[in-house]
Amino acid sequence: MPAPIRLRELIRTIRTARTQAEEREMIQKECAAIRSSFREEDNTYRCRNVAKLLYMHMLGYPAHFGQLECLKLIASQKFTDKRIGYLGAMLLLDERQDVHLLMTNCIKNDLNHSTQYVQGLALCTLGCMGSSEMCRDLAGEVEKLLKTSNSYLRKKAALCAVHVIRKVPELMEMFLPATKNLLSEKNHGVLHTSVVLLTEMCERSPDMLAHFRKLVPQLVRILKNLIMSGYSPEHDVSGISDPFLQVRILRLLRILGKNDDDSSEAMNDILAQVATNTETSKNVGNAILYETVLTIMDIKSESGLRVLAINILGRFLLNNDKNIRYVALTSLLKTVQTDHNAVQRHRSTIVDCLKDLDVSIKRRAMELSFALVNGNNIRGMMKELLYFLDSCDPEFKADCASGVFLAAEKYAPSKRWHIDTIMRVLTTAGSYVRDDSVPNLIQLITNSVEMHAYTVQRLYKALLDDISQQPLVQVASWCIGEYGDLLVSGQCEEEEPIQVTEDEVLDVLEGLLVSNLSTPVTRGYSLTAIMKLSTRFSSVNRIKKVVSIYGSSIDVELQQRAVEYNALFKKYDHMRPALLERMPIMEKTASNGPTEIVQTNGETEPSTVEAKHPPPVTQPTNQANDLLDLLGGNDVVPVIQTTIPTKPASAGGELLDLLGDLSLSGGPAPAPAPSVPTSQPPFLLDGLTSQPLFNDIAAAGIPSMTAYNKNGLKIDFTFERANPNPNIAVITIHATNSTEAEMTDFVFQAAVPKTFQLQLLSPSSNVVPALNQGTVTQVIRVLNPQKQQLRMRIKLTYTHKGSAVQDLAEVNNFPPQSWQ
């Protein structure tokens, strides 16, 4: 058989192929030749064949039949064979193949070979792809080589040890003695790999970390020598001596100095020196500065040094090099929480980066800008951010819009400004706004009582312009439904009131219903809005007609609503005004993000009449149950706002579900006079602040109980019977936190079975202090007319040590006296 063609020949031939098919043909031919050559156990050309196979593998063709051949090459005595064999092993074998374990013996022999380059090959292969078993078997050999005086082998053994530790962390102890003199080496290769090894050990084991802290002075000295030493041709990169080593030392110092005052102090000087003396004209100098900044920010450095670090980052932001700007923005994002004021100084530069052409930089700048917004700079920042929102790519719009809403909510200087900002976002990026923003916005608008007329007017005008952006349309139709009377009566103070007739308004809303641009959700909103206007407008007949038309709509959703609204006209007309009353002011349970679902009856379809109004507690509960029965059969019933007849100064209560559309039992307007649910003047709950109603604990001898106790959060229930209605049990929850970190944004929600009614009042606070230093209390009133056994499902959400926690629990162990 003729000698197989040389590697270069093959490469040249394959490159002449003009089509994929031609190439495939050539390769298949060659593979067949190679396979038969392998079968013949040809030693002379095995090396050449495997090399060719590796080339074909790189082109994407299968090469698994060469795996065993690699092993044979490794076992050969020839250096050429070993070189290709080990290369093949690294490319074709990975630890998932069984074949790969067969290498262990060969590697072991080669680790003890007389030629250092063979030993090097073995170390390299083990260090790149050794499996845990191989590492366990060969760790001893590696450790031996770590102690050799041959620096070529020592550096390779060090990185091999790093790999062994990564794979089998328990073996770390074994390498400890060998690390004793590593840092006194002169050879930079050994020095560098030793620092990597020490870093790996310190990252993995706090004991090792404590042990190696004593090396800080030595590391500082080495770094100092590198900076102060003269030009060394072999390590020089653009005037800096061995930047790779400098950066690794800085990184190790970072780990050693973290949370340790003494070490941090020992490195203060050298860090300042590096920060001020490093040449910044080339990338390599900036790489070192970058690492220095990261180290300064992580250790317990003195404030002067920290300011220096942030200023370096500020200078980076002005650099022409995009990479450096990107890196600066990323670092500033990490430090903005801890060194907020220092970062604020660079705010204008950061905002300029919003206009950068590079996508990565724009994104970082946007995140950082939102982090920097505060009460003082809100107006200026918002202007820039809104301009950014207008001009940015679609991939940013959703995040930017959410960010704008969040920032506006936290820092709005005035209600009018807030509404204007929302309008601007809705009109410019309306279709990118997240769905959950709609209920948030509606709640916000409801609460800005004096702006209702202005808001509805602006929204109406926006609708006239454009009905394609669904979130805008949904918010607008909701507002028109609520405040249509203000719109028609032309009562706007903030701007020139527009003249609008009832018919024009209804035209617009009906237009939404028929438009192809409207989604089913939007149609639902507009139908409900039209219905609400029946109590605010005088042209009731027109509304009746529209509603009855949609009673036969193909869309099941719309049909159901229309049918129910029709029923409202026919059978329950006396209740209609009360049902469709103005919404009261709602209080938020969480300060940001989507409102929680308190409702747990599984209702997702907006099938019921919006603003369903169960009559106040003192009225017969039969009618309430009637209406509630329309909700469909699920076990638990929504938390319902009811009036407290005896204490009209009660708190506004919890926010109920406003997700999706608002047809589920939102906060209906409870009348202060309990017996007559007629239209009251709006905004009943104006000016009510949340105060806990009851603080008395023991009551009428009903024993208290622990409802929940997990992860340091304990919730106790104490009971009382309310007067005058003995069917009402008043439960006070007491939440305590035994962990060492406080729990913030604490929200308690509850749901009860269908036969009960529940009223949840405002909590005393939403921060549960740590270490049982305080309690959060909240009052629950449960109406139990049928005297059934009380069961409750509770949901807890809070933020603890920076992460959000959520838990659901069932409470079944109520003492009998609480519900009998």
Binding site: I11, C160, V162, V247, E291, K322, S360
Partner: protein
């Protein structure tokens, strides 16, 4: 540490692949495809850094070849650019004015040089000269006369 280092040209043809973590063939193919799709469309004067899954990707174009490395979260991107540059310098020293063809026809040498410079995703040798010295000495160990004259052996 580096997770991988890839070299590919403007047509998306792979010229070198080094993996520092165990990856199956299928995963490798996927990563390569993703990198090519992410890096090739980038405009010339944009940032050399990207985010992909939980990794930082650093890439640099030298003539017709893209050098692309995947870094972990705590690695220094600016230094990674220096690592890539140093590798190119080493190749240049060894081959003399290296170009893509050198790497195509002598891919195994490119791997050997890489193995003298990086190991397990970390820099092994920081000296500019030491790597080439090791390569020269190792080359002398290659057995046949052709190899001895540092002409490709195959």
């Amino acid at each position: 540490m580096l997770r991988f280092l890839l070299l590919f040209n403007r047509q998306g043809k792979l010229r070198l692949q080094k993996w520092f973590v165990p990856t199956s063939d299928r995963e490798r193919k996927k990563v390569i495809r993703d990198m090519i799709m992410l890096v090739l469309p980038r405009q010339p004067r944009t940032c050399n850094f990207l985010r992909w899954k939980d990794l930082k990707i650093v890439y640099k174009r030298y003539a017709s070849l893209y050098f692309c490395a995947g870094l972990e979260e705590q690695d220094n991107e600016l230094l990674a650019l220096e690592v890539l540059h140093r590798y190119v310098e080493l190749l240049d020293k060894y081959f003399g004015n290296v170009c893509e063809l050198d790497i195509i026809f002598n891919f195994e040498k490119a791997y050997f040089i890489l193995d003298e410079f990086l190991m397990g995703g970390e820099v092994l040798e920081t000296s500019k000269f030491a790597v080439n010295v090791s390569m020269e000495q190792a080359d002398t160990l290659q057995e046949t006369m052709e190899e001895y004259m540092s002409k490709p052996a195959y």
